[in-house]
């Protein structure tokens, strides 16, 4: 690419051009970039003592883009300005001077976040500013190339550096008023990667709250980053909060990958989704704090926004502590509390209304009962003790209601009338030959853990397995537990799916299910170990084998952090191995089909017997369960 700007209407200074400043001569090295107001070059000047050495600098030249071609470059490098362009040039010159004045003022008071203004002078019928040269790129270019920060922490560091740069302005009662990715220069890190260090560019929109400021800028920012008071040109409302708004708009873009939406039509506590790229693997409190900062920074009314940089810096520091784990205090979400209060009020009102209704109904009922019941009879409330029903059970045949996280208690299952539910059989200590005649194509399996209250749902680190790739329908799975969130560990499990959606019967042997906690201690999850008899069809194509046995050993994600969930599983078809039959002693109450699906027909109790015959050894195992069918009202 030619290192020279050759627009239709502008021509940059050529390489090697000698630009004579007030105190030294600068040699143009190459063209760097151009905006609507100026062109930037890389240049150098020779060291006074050791002329063989160069000082590399940047030079900014006032050369507004005039599409009528009235500002041209003469052969000697000077700008030729047509008289008809004078009026066009005037505001650009004012902006350049205002920016230069602000730059010098800030630099005099010491700031590491803007390029040093080494000199400024008039030459070639235009104006020049000499700046220190730094390696890096403009943020806008990086965003266009989808180069972004890898973590929330990086964006926060970036933001703090940006605010530090801005603070130099605000200390001088100056406002930048044009914070956007175009004006943020990201310095190159030593290893050549994207750093969080920045310098601020382009002060042409600078606005002073000092009465002796003699410049009047016409340009106050870019659409999408401008604070509402700047959009509305309410100069009396400009303040440090106006720049803070723009800073938050940039941060929003870094976090979401998109520009701010119509802010006057958006309200709510969640501008960035907790499921977004950068927040997905962070703690839930991180998302809360991020959104609270954005909400306050992007308030429509200036007085509700952060009033000065120190305030937002403080909240960002807290965010960093949350990210590092140093801060574990709960975040109060005012919007959620407000909604909860509203819900509570409405529920209270509804509940009161229901109560009044019920009381009225009950009162009527009581009255009717008294009228109908003969005198002298007492009605005792009796509760049925289901454990008194005799059952023949075999401990090696464990029954579990589908999707329930523990086996049937006392082999009793309660169901409402007119419903159906499957029961899963888990054979303990069942040894059998392996049937490897077929590959279990398109069956998938993976292990999961779930936090209580974790809206993300099952966590499985994207580790899913396909039996197709195994030589012997056996899979070894290790799920690393690296979750930094602080949820209680609710349950763990194995998910087994038949992606053929065909009708098949399978035995899934879970040979080993071990939870290794953060201290390296292994805990055997015996509830999931065993040979699970599973029936698949078009409707039931996935079985979730879940257990809460983890609660006996660990409490929360912190306890398991650094550990893993190890599962060894083997799959094979049921038919070659076992004959399974189900029957009910009271079909009027409950029936059962050949796959263990129980249908509750009317209220009462029924005993279901499952008989399992090993086709190889002839061994028969049998167990019974009680089905208590209750009314739908409970």
């Amino acid at each position: 690419m030619e290192d020279r700007l050759m627009e239709e209407y502008r021509q940059s200074l050529p390489e090697g051009f000698r630009l004579i400043g007030r105190h030294r001569i600068y040699i143009i090295d190459k063209y760097i970039s151009a905006g609507s107001n100026s062109i930037v070059y890389q240049a150098f000047y020779q060291d006074s003592l050791m002329p063989g050495h160069r000082h590399v600098i940047l030079i900014k030249e006032l050369y507004p883009l005039d599409e009528m071609g009235r500002i041209t470059r003469a052969a000697d490098g000077s700008l030729v300005i047509d008289p008809s362009a004078e009026e066009f040039l005037r505001p650009h010159r004012e902006s350049f001077l205002a920016g230069n004045h602000a730059h010098l003022t800030i630099a005099e008071n010491g700031s590491g976040r803007i390029a040093d203004n080494l000199d400024s002078f008039e030459a070639n019928n235009t104006l020049y500013t000499v700046l220190t040269s730094r390696k890096g790129r403009v943020l806008a270019e990086l965003l266009e190339e989808d180069i972004t920060f890898p973590t929330v922490t990086h964006t926060v560091q970036f933001l703090k550096n940006l605010l530090l740069a801005l603070s130099a302005f605000h200390q001088q009662k100056l406002l930048h008023l044009d914070i956007s990715p175009d004006n943020i220069f990201v310095l190159e890190a030593e290893d050549g990667k994207l750093s969080t260090d920045i310098i601020l560019l382009d002060f042409n929109s600078v606005y002073s709250q000092n009465s002796d400021w003699q410049y009047d800028n016409y340009y106050v920012g870019k659409a999408g980053y401008m604070a509402p008071e700047t959009v509305l040109q309410r100069r009396g409302e400009f303040g440090p909060w106006s720049d803070i708004y723009s800073v938050c708009a940039v941060w929003y873009e870094l976090l979401s990958g998109e520009k701010l939406p119509d802010m006057e039509l958006v309200y709510g506590s969640e501008l960035i989704s907790p499921y977004s790229r950068l927040l997905l693997h962070e703690k839930e409190r991180t998302a809360l704090q991020v959104n609270q900062i954005l909400k306050k920074g992007l308030e429509i009314q200036p007085k509700k926004r952060y009033q000065e940089i120190g305030e937002i810096q403080s909240d960002l520091d807290r965010l960093l502590n949350i990210l590092s784990g140093a801060d574990r205090e709960p975040i109060i979400n005012p919007r959620a509390e407000q909604d909860a209060r509203r819900k509570k009020t409405r529920r209270a009102v509804t509940a009161l209304a229901c109560l009044i209704f019920l009381l009225a109904g009950t009162g009527t009922g009581i009255l009717l009962e008294k009228m109908l019941k003969p005198e002298g009879q007492s009605m005792e409330h009796t509760e049925l003790d289901l454990t008194q029903f005799p059952l023949e059970t075999d401990d090696s045949v464990v029954l579990t209601e589908k999707n329930i996280r523990h086996p049937l208690e006392n082999n009793i299952m309660t169901m409402p009338v007119q419903s159906s539910m499957s029961v899963r059989v888990n054979l303990k200590d069942y040894s059998h030959p392996r049937d490897l005649s077929e590959v279990f194509e398109t069956y998938g399996i993976f292990t999961i853990y779930n936090g209580e209250g974790d809206k993300r749902g099952w966590q499985f680190a994207d580790l899913t397995y396909d039996f197709f790739y195994t030589p012997d329908n056996a899979i070894h799975m290790e799920l690393p537990l690296q979750d930094k969130n602080e949820f209680p560990l609710e349950y763990i499990g194995v998910i087994f799916a038949n992606y053929n959606y065909t009708e098949t019967s399978v035995v899934l042997d879970i040979k080993d299910c071990t939870l290794v906690d953060g201290e390296g201690i292994s805990h055997e999850i015996t509830e999931l170990e065993g040979s699970h008899i599973l029936y698949f069809d078009e409707e039931n194509w996935q079985w979730n084998l879940l257990s809460e046995q983890n609660k006996n050993y660990v409490r929360d994600f912190q306890d398991i952090y650094g550990g893993k969930l190890i599962v060894d599983a083997e799959a094979g078809y049921l038919d070659p191995l076992l004959e399974v039959t189900w029957e009910s002693d009271n079909p009027d109450v409950a029936t059962v089909d050949e796959k263990g699906r129980i249908y509750a027909n009317r209220q009462g109790q029924a005993t279901i017997t499952v008989t399992i015959e090993d086709k190889h050894t002839g061994e028969i195992r049998k167990t019974q369960m009680l089905v208590h069918v209750r009314s739908k009202l409970g």
Partner: protein
């Protein structure tokens, strides 16, 4: 000040009786020639130049200056501004007060008018510039009516950004260059307004009330445009078009009120999204949020509405405009169970008491 609905309507009726088009013109005119004579001479010249019928011009001007009626055509309003020698800012105010919106800074024709008013050029000069611009266009090219949906992201310039840049245009050549530079995104449609219109309409069509979270009412079904208009935007305004029996205040409020037909035209991009519709949509959606606390309610929504209007290049809320006054008063809700739309409906009921809103049998066939 906190007023009851009856007090507000009485107040507005009094103000509307005082405020008039003739007064507006006289307040903005500082010449020595009698206004009626000036307008008669100038408008006759302008209309003759455009080949329009000049008969009846004098009568129309008499009617305007006697407040019998007023011009509704924007071209005529611009001609009046040129005739009176108004500058750009004053012309914008006249348009804001009289027409549906001020100068449209996305309409090339109106931008040429704005430039000419800024430079104190006369109307014939403006017509000459319009011709020059049209001549520069390729013979086969037609000005595309680009909607916000069609434009690439980078070309959806905010109207306000375009207007800011337009401020620096000082010469005719700069004007032509500017208009050519923004040719693709300039059009007679408020692109930004359409984007906001779509956003709010989709909420009403999809019925996102948020109540399903509370579990008290079921989620609303998807609405048609007609249902959205009748349910949310009509607010009891009478359908009847003949307005002879209406008071000045009623006419002022009812003007440009969206109907199912106009909503359909706006939604499909055939017609411009007007300011009143945008404001009513804001009210119907409560600014897309029910959650602003009572103590901040009026100030917050006022600022949001002005931001929305500003980004669409529309006039900000003006308490001197009767409809805007109702808007501002409707924002002063009494408690958290009240809402701006309900308050507005109560005001409108007071304004149109006795003129019940009803569905004309003709509506069932789609005719108004």
């Amino acid at each position: 000040m906190n007023m009851t609905e009856e007090q507000i309507v009485r107040f507005l009726n009094q103000r509307v009786e005082m405020w008039s088009f003739s007064r507006l013109l006289h307040e903005n005119y500082s010449g020595k020639i009698p206004l009626q004579m000036l307008l008669s001479e100038k408008l006759t010249e302008y209309k003759g130049m455009r080949g329009e019928d000049t008969k009846g011009t004098a009568r129309k001007i008499r009617n305007w200056l006697n407040d019998v009626n007023r011009p509704v055509n924007r071209e005529t309003l611009f001609q009046i501004c040129f005739a009176m020698g108004l500058d750009e800012e004053s012309a914008d105010k006249v348009l804001c007060s009289t027409a549906e919106s001020g100068i449209h800074y996305r309409n090339p024709r109106e931008m040429i008018y704005a430039f000419c008013l800024r430079k104190s050029y006369d109307y014939p000069k403006a017509q000459e510039l319009i011709r020059r611009l049209e001549e520069r266009r390729d013979p086969g090219e037609r000005q595309e009516q680009l909607s916000a949906r069609n434009l690439p992201q980078e070309e959806r310039y905010l109207t306000i950004s375009v207007r800011d840049e337009f401020k620096s245009v000082q010469s005719e050549d700069e004007l032509i260059r500017f208009l050519e530079k923004y040719r693709r995104s300039l059009g007679v449609r408020h692109n930004t307004a359409y984007a906001k219109f779509s956003l709010m309409m989709s909420q009403l069509i999809e019925g996102g009330s948020g109540n399903e979270e509370i579990g008290i009412v079921p989620g609303e079904k998807r609405y048609s445009l007609k249902q959205v208009t009748d349910q949310y935007l009509r607010m009891g305004i009478p359908y009847e078009r003949k307005s002879r029996s209406y008071s000045r205040l009623q006419k002022e409020i009812k003007k440009h009120w969206p109907s199912a037909k106009t909503m359909e035209e706006m939604y499909s991009g055939k017609a411009d999204v007007n300011r009143k519709t945008l404001l009513l949509l804001y009210f119907a959606t409560e600014g897309m949020d029910p959650g602003i606390q009572e103590e901040n309610y009026a100030g917050e929504h006022c600022r949001r509405i002005n931001l929305m209007l500003s980004e669409c290049g529309m006039a900000l809320l003006d308490p001197h405009n009767p409809f805007d006054f109702l808007i501002l008063q409707s924002l002063r809700i009494k408690n958290e169970d009240d809402s701006m739309s309900r308050r507005m409906e109560r005001f409108l009921w007071q304004v149109f008491k006795g003129s019940m809103a009803y569905i004309n049998p003709a509506d069932e066939t789609g005719k108004m």
